[in-house]
């Protein structure tokens, strides 16, 4: 056990810190869940790309920096400490990008990765369907082969970023005789393809960050298929693995929230209840614990261990911590918690964050599904 940063790691930290200090917007952007805010966030993605800070963990050949996990953690620490915006390109960086790097042809890598790294194309996910939520293998949307095209019919829903994104990626049933996780294929397509209808869904906070996608005889070239026909489930599980794993929510984000929460407590210490004080301390401790655990898992992954069902422990922990952190802030704000704009004229980020945090235990595999995975695959209870 060696819990010290090397001089190289310290120098890297200084480099990130300097770039962020010079480039992070001084005014906070509007919410990523609305059109105006989304466009602001896309500009920020391009700014990051201009400094080659967009896809830091990707190999250099595809526009990344080839950072190892410790460097990634350092990058994230400096990113969130600098107050930098949320990532509009999250789906591309952590979900689709690594999947294309693992399963894509050379041609697909060249075609998709570079524009993704440059912040030119924003990606939406298209997994869930009205009857395939936690039970993702119940997918029914069909993709029927017709010459060198697939013809897609069906419906996707809860598609993150689809209201504003350019392309989507998801699973479609190519084998009409198949059931469950067989006969599914991973396909990428532009959201402006004829026959695609995107219907934004108004979310809890009033904005339209996700959407339904309807497919009506949508023709997609075969070269937009990732991996072989019928291999979609395996490819998607790799994506879900990345998603649930280490990188979806970096610890630094929660540490930054914990730090702001301590500052909020300091402003309200005269009126804060003992329960609120305890909740703030718990939030601070949990953020540290999450960071320590990530460093620990990162070290094992760097030594060659694969992340499996352990990723579910992570997802349960961060999502419930996120909700608790914001609940603590709401409690400190008291009667002002309901106001959408606070005294300083800024949007009530705690309220927005609280609302967003309520989605955490649901998306990327609900925490009930995650607890099943932990119980069955880590503890060995019967399926």
């Amino acid at each position: 056990m060696e819990l010290n940063y090397t001089p190289e790691q310290q120098a890297f930290r200084a480099e990130v810190r300097a770039w962020m200090a010079a480039n992070v917007p001084s005014q906070s952007l509007k919410t990523l869940e609305g059109r105006e805010g989304f466009d602001q966030h896309v500009l920020w993605e391009r700014k990051l790309a201009s400094g080659n800070w967009g896809m830091v963990t990707w190999p250099e050949a595809y526009g990344g920096r080839g950072l190892d996990l410790i460097q990634w953690l350092i990058f994230e620490e400096e990113y969130w400490a600098a107050g930098a915006p949320n990532r509009a390109n999250q789906n591309g960086i952590f979900l689709l990008g690594p999947t294309i790097i693992e399963y894509g042809t050379d041609e697909q890598k060249a075609r998709f990765l570079t524009p993704m790294a440059h912040g030119e194309i924003m990606w939406a996910q298209a997994w869930s369907e009205p009857d395939a939520g936690s039970d993702m293998a119940a997918i029914r949307s069909r993709a029927v082969r017709d010459g060198d095209h697939y013809v897609i019919n069906g419906q996707k829903t809860w598609s993150s970023r689809a209201a504003f994104a350019d392309w989507c990626f998801g699973l479609f049933r190519t084998d009409g005789e198949s059931s469950r996780h067989h006969g599914l294929t991973f396909i990428l397509l532009p959201l402006d393809t004829p026959g695609v209808t995107v219907r934004p869904i108004r979310q809890l906070h009033g904005e339209t960050g996700f959407a339904e996608i309807f497919f009506d005889d949508v023709r997609v070239p075969v070269e937009n298929r990732l991996a072989d026909e019928g291999e979609g489930w395996k490819v998607a599980m790799a994506t879900a693995g990345f998603e649930r794993g280490l990188m979806l929510r970096s610890p630094a984000r929660f540490q930054a929230t914990a730090k702001r929460l301590v500052q909020l407590y300091d402003q309200h210490s005269q009126t804060a209840s003992p329960q609120a004080r305890d909740a703030v301390l718990q939030a601070w401790m949990d953020a540290e614990a999450y960071a320590l655990n990530t460093y620990s898992v990162a070290a094992q992954v760097m030594a060659g261990r694969k992340i499996g069902a352990e990723a579910s422990l992570n997802k349960i922990f961060w999502s419930e911590m996120d909700r608790a952190q914001h609940r603590a802030a709401m409690s400190l704000l008291g009667a002002a918690a309901e106001l959408r704009t606070l005294d300083d004229g800024e949007a009530n980020a705690w309220l927005e964050g609280y609302i967003f945090s309520l989605s955490g235990p649901i998306y990327a595999g609900s925490n009930e599904i995650q607890r099943n995975i932990v119980a069955e695959r880590l503890l060995g209870l019967p399926r």
Partner: protein, 320 residues
């Protein structure tokens, strides 16, 4: 930066675990419970394993290891529910004693009891050749713990140091982690065996979700404990704060594990017949020992809220 245990550390922990699994099982706990709760043969076995010399320098006849190794051994003492005063003597007190005393600790001749004003008791005072932070009185009043294998004596005048408190809280936290892991494994085994409605109860999601929540608590307490051990070993400025965090995290894990396990065991969990109660009662005892949750939360809040601690997140491994 490499937050992995070394091969030597893993081998040490596995060796201690294998030894205790073979030599210190639940049947032994029942035998001790029926008798007077200590057996010199157990102590001799621990001495033969070299465990009394973990922290004793090599030139005093020990292994000269550090607090990370001590914490790993303490995890195994918790897992096996060892009651001999090995943790107090060898993993906590040894570095605070003279070279001569350390030699006697390593050979197993000297047992040390620990006194501190955070505890109203001294454990295993009657066997101790040395009392750190207190004095040896022949007439000390025995106290009865809920844990049938603890031997406690009333304590009045104590002067234990902060250093003693930190070391003891760290090693107690490590035992709580081992206890938590064992309780989870007992409850999981029971859920796999107990059949109701024609299936093992572990097949019901209500049971799965309870046990998964315990697994989450344990997973996120472990690195907090290891960081605390590393920080104290390397004299980091925030070691005391990290130890308090570890004590809170492992206490919460152990209490949740105990309450969950008794629920999973149903009425059987409420009996003396299943082994669960030995570990659950040890968890209750250690939860309050060497600073209870409130005590350690106060130490943490003093660091977090006064600005004495810069909560910048690049500093989780800070030496200052």
């Amino acid at each position: 930066m490499d937050f992995r245990l070394t091969q030597d550390q893993l081998e040490l922990q596995n060796a201690v675990r294998d030894y205790l699994t073979a030599e210190h099982d639940a049947a032994l706990l029942r035998r001790l419970d029926a008798g007077d709760s200590r057996d010199p043969a157990i102590w001799d076995g621990l001495v033969d394993m070299g465990l009394t010399g973990i922290l004793v320098p090599e030139d005093c006849g020990g292994l000269g290891l550090g607090l990370v190794e001590a914490a790993l051994v303490a995890i195994e003492l918790g897992r096996a529910n060892v009651s001999e005063p090995l943790a107090d003597t060898a993993l906590i007190a040894a570095p605070l004693t003279s070279a001569e005393q350390q030699s006697e600790i390593a050979t197993g001749k000297l047992k040390v009891a620990l006194a501190h004003n955070v505890n109203p008791w001294i454990a295993d005072l009657d066997q101790a050749g040395l009392v750190l932070g207190g004095t040896h009185t022949e007439s000390a009043t025995p106290l009865e713990s809920v844990d049938p294998l603890r031997r406690l004596f009333a304590s009045d005048e104590t002067s234990g140091s902060d250093d003693l408190l930190d070391r003891a809280a760290l090693i107690t936290a490590a035992q709580l982690l081992g206890i938590s892991e064992h309780i989870l494994s007992l409850a999981t085994d029971y859920a796999n065996q107990r059949v109701q409605f024609g299936q093992p109860i572990g097949k019901f999601q209500a049971i799965k979700h309870h046990l998964a929540s315990v697994a989450v608590k344990i997973e996120f307490a472990r690195p907090v404990l290891l960081r605390a051990a590393y920080a104290l070993e390397n004299n980091h400025g925030r070691a005391a704060l990290h130890i308090s965090h570890a004590k809170v995290a492992t206490t919460d894990a152990a209490m949740l594990a105990g309450e969950t396990a008794i629920q999973v065991h149903g009425a059987m969990g409420y009996t003396y017949e299943v082994d669960l109660h030995f570990w659950m009662k040890r968890a209750w005892a250690l939860a309050g020992a060497w600073g209870d949750r409130a005590f350690h939360i106060r130490r943490i809040e003093a660091g977090v809220f006064t600005g004495a601690l810069e909560t910048n997140h690049s500093n989780i491994f800070s030496k200052e």
